[in-house]
Structures are given as C-alpha cells and as structure tokens.
C-alpha cells in the first residue's frame, strides 16, 4: 500500500467522514479553496468537492468559530472547527470550557456537543512565543473534553476519524513538524479508538510515556540505548485525556521505572499528573522516582539556538534514562 503524509492522512479522514455523513462540515480561517485550502493545506480540495457551506471559510473570529461549532453540534451536526494555531485558543476558551465541555453535563445528558477542534502547534519552526505552545494540559484539566494528538500519519488518519465519530468535544492537536511524516496508508474506514495508547516499542528497563512529536525522540533514544544494553519501552498515549491508564500502569509495573516526556512546559504539565498517578498506583513496582521531562518554563524563544535549547532534546532523555537505571 502507498505511503501517505500526516497532511494527506488528515485530509483523507475528513474527506471520508464528509462523504459518509452530510452532518460533518468544516469551518475555520482560510479553509476553503479561495483562501488556499487552509494554511497547512489540511482541507485542500474539499470545498471544491463539498461546497462552501460545508467548508466554511470564516472571518478571524475564534469565539464565533467555536460558538458556531457548538451551536451546530447541539442541532445534531458534526462540525470540525479549525483554530489555526493553538495559542489562539485563548481567544475562545469560554466557548470551549464553559460551553462545549459542559453542555452535556449541565443539560443532564440532553445536549452532547460532538465537535472536533483541530489546531496546530509545535516548537522548532521559529514561530516564537505566540504560535508554538503545547497547551494540552489546559484542556486535560477540564472535564468533558477528549484531547488527542497523533505521532504518525496512520494514527492521524485513524484518530481523526474516531474524533469525528465521538459524541463529545475533541481537541485535536497537530504538531507542525509532524505534517511531513510518512506512514503506510491504513486505508479507508481506518479508526484508532480514542483513549487507547500504543506500545510504540516494547522494552523491559524503563517506560517512557509520551505523545505527539516527542514519540519520535523517545523511539530514537530507545534504538540508541538498546546498543548499550538498556531496554526502553515507549508508550504513545495518542489520547492525552482521558488517557489509557491501564496501558500506562501495566507498562510501568513491567519495567519498574517511568519517565514522562512532553514538549509542553514541565511545571503543572500532563507529566505531573501521569507521574503522580503512577506513584500512587505502582508504588510497589517502582525501583525509583518517576522522572519528568518537559519544555523550559518560559515563552518559546525565537532565535533558533535558543529554541533548540528550550525544547527537550535526546541528550536530556538519554541522561534521565541512564540516571534512572543507574548507568549514569
């Protein structure tokens, strides 16, 4: 089967869902053909196919975009809203947190809100402080939302399809540096269920729990360390919230050591929650403290050497693993 990039994978998943269900539609800034099919081309070709009512290019109005998605979802449709860059979610947090996330609960289950909020981000592209943040912890802290991020093209296709199927809001985070990654195309109808992690690599000495672009770093480090006799298991959460606790705990019980890894800043990040939960539930299996790696606690800098210094790197991961297994 042919290879596809993550960009193609997302486009295929959305195209397929739109073909299957007339209630699926996209809205966001620049998403239609006239505006170039989306800044990152995810919706390229779709307005020509489905018309401009189903691929609605919007004004720069994030609150109105998410509000419209919420309203349409309450009326039984399945909107896919694009917030061009994740930092802009700050503009529409009221609609996401107070409305999308809570309307199922506050209505006693009468008005679920099945929306997918696609957004892009990532450190390492020189976008600076207001276009690079990983803000998944903001949403993981709110009951009523799924938070999803793929680390490869096949998962992107399957997770997007499952997100559109979901009967609740999903924040779907796309790392810009992953758009070009290629996988074997899993084909039409492929779904990766929400809330299921992948064991991206099996190992026996330590578990790295990670997601998104840093899965690649974890896998690369694991391959290198194997040569030194250290066996690293890599868990790709795929769904950050609610996450696959069973897979995470089983892995840590097996290896006895855990390292959480993410691009988002370390303090109060999702790694803190994972670490706390692992320590509560796997205390008897642990051979040492759970370690955490995350981004530097500052805004993401512009200058490339500063940006590279900001982001967790492979040397950090290697050092932490060696310290954990007592081979530093």
């Amino acid at each position: 089967m042919a290879e596809i990039t993550m960009t193609q994978a997302l486009n295929l998943a959305i195209d397929e869902a739109m073909a299957d269900d007339p209630g699926v539609f996209c809205l966001g800034e620049d998403v239609a053909a006239k505006q170039g099919g989306g800044v990152f081309k995810i919706t390229s070709g779709l307005s020509e196919k489905y018309g401009e009512n189903r691929i609605r290019a919007t004004p720069i109005s994030e609150t109105a975009i998410i509000g419209a998605a919420v309203g349409a979802a309450l009326a039984g449709q399945r909107p896919i809203a694009e917030i061009m860059l994740m930092n802009f979610v700050g503009v529409c947090m009221d609609q996401i947190v107070n409305h999308a996330a809570k309307l199922r609960f506050m209505s006693g289950g009468q008005t679920p809100c099945p929306i997918v909020i696609r957004t892009t981000t990532g450190v390492g592209v020189g976008f600076g402080g207001q276009h690079s943040d990983m803000l998944e912890a903001w949403f993981a802290h709110v009951a009523g939302i799924h938070v999803v991020t793929p680390s490869n093209a096949a998962d992107a296709r399957g997770l997007m399809r499952a997100s559109i199927d979901a009967n609740d809001p999903v924040i779907f985070i796309e790392n810009i540096l992953c758009y070009g990654l290629k996988s074997e195309d899993p084909g039409p109808g492929y779904r990766v269920p929400l809330g299921k992690a992948a064991v991206a690599r099996e190992g026996s000495d330590i578990s790295i729990i990670t997601y998104g672009r840093t899965v690649l770093d974890a896998l690369s480090v694991a391959a290198d360390l194997e040569k030194e006799g250290i066996s690293v298991e890599v868990i790709d959460l795929r769904t950050i919230a609610p996450y696959d606790e069973a897979t995470v705990l089983a892995s840590v019980r097996k290896t006895g050591r855990a390292l959480t890894l993410h691009e988002a800043v370390r303090p109060f990040g999702t790694g803190a929650e994972l670490a706390a939960n692992i320590q509560e539930k796997c205390w008897d299996s642990l051979k040492g403290p759970v370690r955490r790696i995350g981004g530097t606690f500052s805004a993401v800098p512009f200058a490339s050497h500063l940006e590279q210094a900001w982001i967790p790197n492979k040397a950090d991961i290697v050092a932490q693993i060696k310290a954990s297994v007592g081979k530093d």
């Binding site: 007339p22 209630g23 539609f25 009512n53 189903r54 609605r56 919007t58 004004p59 109005s61 609150t63 109105a64 998410i66 509000g67 419209a68 998605a69 919420v70 309203g71 349409a72 979802a73 309450l74 009326a75 039984g76 449709q77 909107p79 009221d94 609609q95 107070n98 409305h99 309307l103 199922r104 609960f105 506050m106 209505s107 006693g108 289950g109 009468q110 008005t111 679920p112 009951a143 009523g144 799924h146 979901a166 009967n167 609740d168 929400l194 809330g195 609610p242």
Partner: protein
C-alpha cells in the same frame, strides 16, 4: 420600521397575554418562595421584562430554537417549557429538565427549543449562529432567536457573532433586552452609544429599537425579524427598551438604581399597559382574571410537585461528563 402601526389579531393578543402572565406569575411565585425561605437558590428576577420575552416567543414557531441567559425565565416559560420540570430544575431536583445538574442559570430543554441558557454574558450569540448554521446547512426552516441584555453588547463575542451571522445570512434573530443595567452598572456608565440597535448598521444588518413595554411594538418587530430570517434573508437585531425593576439577582443590593428613576419606570410597567390593550380589544376583566387564576393554579401545583420531588442521586456527578464514562 413603523412597528406600532401594525395591528395584532385577537388570538395572538390572547396568546401573548397568556405567555406574559405565565412569566409574571412564575416570577412572583419565585420571589415569594425566596422571601419565605422555602428555597435558597440564585434567581435572576424578570420583573419589568415579561412582555418582551412573551411577545418574542409568540413570534416563533414551536420548533424554533432559543438561546437565552441566566435571566431567561421569561423566554423559557413563554416558549412553553413544561413547568413541573422547570421548577424541578430550579430547585435542583432529579425531576428537573437537567436532572438538577444545570440549575436556574443553565436550563436546557430541547423539546421546547430551549437549547442553551448561558451564565456567561454574551456567550449565547455565537452559539445561536451555530444552531442557525445547522438549520441553513440542512434546510429545516427553523429560526434561532438569541436573547441577551445591553451589557452583552460590549463583549467581543457579540461583534464576532453579528459579523458572522450577516456574512452567511444566517436565520437568526438577535434580541437585545435593554433593561438599562449590565449587572450593577447603568447603561450610560457602560456604553456611550445612544442605543444598541444602531450597531447593526455596522455589520450591514437591519436593526430596530422598540418600546419593550408596548406589545404593538415588540411583537411586530420580532415577527418581522423572524419572517425575514425564515425567508433566508439573514439576521436582524431587535432592541427592546425595557427596565429591570429589581436588582441584578434576587436579594442583591440595588441602591445604585436611583429611586426617582425606579418610580418613573414603574409608570411604564408593561403589565397594566398590556391589560389596557386587552380590555380595548373587548376582552373582559373576568376572562383575563380567569387566565391568571388558571396559571396560578398550574404554578402552585408545579411548585408543590417540585418541592416534594427527590434530589438527584449523588452518582449523577459522574454521569454525563463524557458519553464513554456513562
């Protein structure tokens, strides 16, 4: 718009009167229960604004959508929400519209078309656009009406929503109930433009200011906006000038409301004015009293039912968070 020149037929007048009195008797009952200490919950009084809600809801069809605010009792009861369920929700009971998990500020009843009651000022407008967008997408012919106060006209979402609605010609009616206060701040202290309706021009949509105490102004204006939306001609902004005769929420201090202004506005009370209109249209005192008696009896029974109803089971806090968690 020469709204006051439009006549309203007797059946519609009776309909509006009945809805208005339902709103008013519900409000009086709620305040009485709070005064008697029989219930202790947040309640946002609608005294003075009854007619606006009632006339607006009378301009909608049964399956049209409504988005309202925490001061949404008028829209909810006038649209026809089952009142036992409404009282159940306000009292936090398992029999409520939302199983007691929404409360006075978050009433939802899709059967009645009450899709969202938001506690966040101005948040309803962008959501109303989405409901209208769904109707436009699937051609169901429904209109969405979103009600909000003058204070809401100053949040960003108002402007984003107005622009987007007009851009897509969405079947939505923006109903501003200008009750002269944004929480504790008087209109003149939060807005320097003479009215809210004039903002519509900035987005290319029709906007009209009407006397919210005059049925012959409110109903035709909202009806025209609803008809226009249903014809696919896009949104309108209707601003109904009314007056919140009490504080922001029941029991809150309202010393910031000048007594002389309160007295002046009491003379504008929509209820005696509506009664006068009804009598002019040959409805008798007896007929009108009998309608109110019927409403009172219905409300009394609903309140008794709600007071006696069970509380939601504590396990409810884990339910309806996500579908998968149920």
């Amino acid at each position: 718009m020469a709204a006051n020149a439009k006549e309203i037929d007797r059946d519609k007048l009776l309909d509006i009167y009945t809805r208005t009195m339902k709103v008013n008797r519900t409000d009086e009952k709620f305040r009485a229960l709070l005064m008697q200490g029989k219930v202790a919950v947040m309640y946002y009084c609608v005294r003075g604004q009854e007619l606006v809600s009632a006339a607006a809801m009378a301009a909608l069809e049964k399956d049209d959508y409504v988005v309202c605010t925490y001061r949404g009792q008028g829209e909810q009861t006038a649209k026809g929400i089952p009142i036992e369920k409404w009282w159940g929700e306000c009292l936090g009971k398992a029999t409520g519209t939302c199983k007691g998990k929404g409360g006075t500020m978050h009433i939802t009843d899709p059967e009645t078309g009450i899709m969202v009651t938001t506690g966040v000022v101005g948040s309803g407008l962008p959501i109303a656009n989405g409901l209208a967008m769904a109707s436009q997408n699937n051609g169901d012919g429904r209109v969405t009406l979103v009600s909000f106060g003058d204070g809401a006209a100053n949040i960003g979402g108002f402007h984003e929503a107005m622009n987007m609605a007009q851009l897509y010609k969405l079947p939505v009616v923006f109903l501003c109930q200008n009750n002269r206060y944004g929480e504790h701040t008087a209109y003149a202290d939060h807005t320097d433009s003479p009215n809210i309706a004039s903002r519509a021009a900035g987005y290319g949509m029709p906007g009209v200011t009407v006397d919210g105490n005059n049925v012959h102004e409110v109903y035709p204006a909202v009806k025209e906006a609803v008809d226009r939306a249903r014809r696919g001609e896009g949104p309108s902004l209707v601003e109904a000038m009314c007056y919140r005769m009490m504080g922001h929420f029941f029991g809150s201090d309202f010393s910031y409301m000048p007594p002389e202004h309160l007295a002046e506005m009491a003379a504008e009370d929509p209820l005696p004015k509506l009664r006068k209109v009804m009598l002019e249209h040959q409805f008798t005192e007896e007929e009108l009293d009998s309608i109110v008696d019927g409403i009172n009896a219905e409300i009394d029974a609903a309140v008794e039912h709600a007071l006696a109803a069970p509380l939601p089971d504590v396990s409810e806090i884990y339910k309806d968070v996500l579908e998968e968690v149920n």
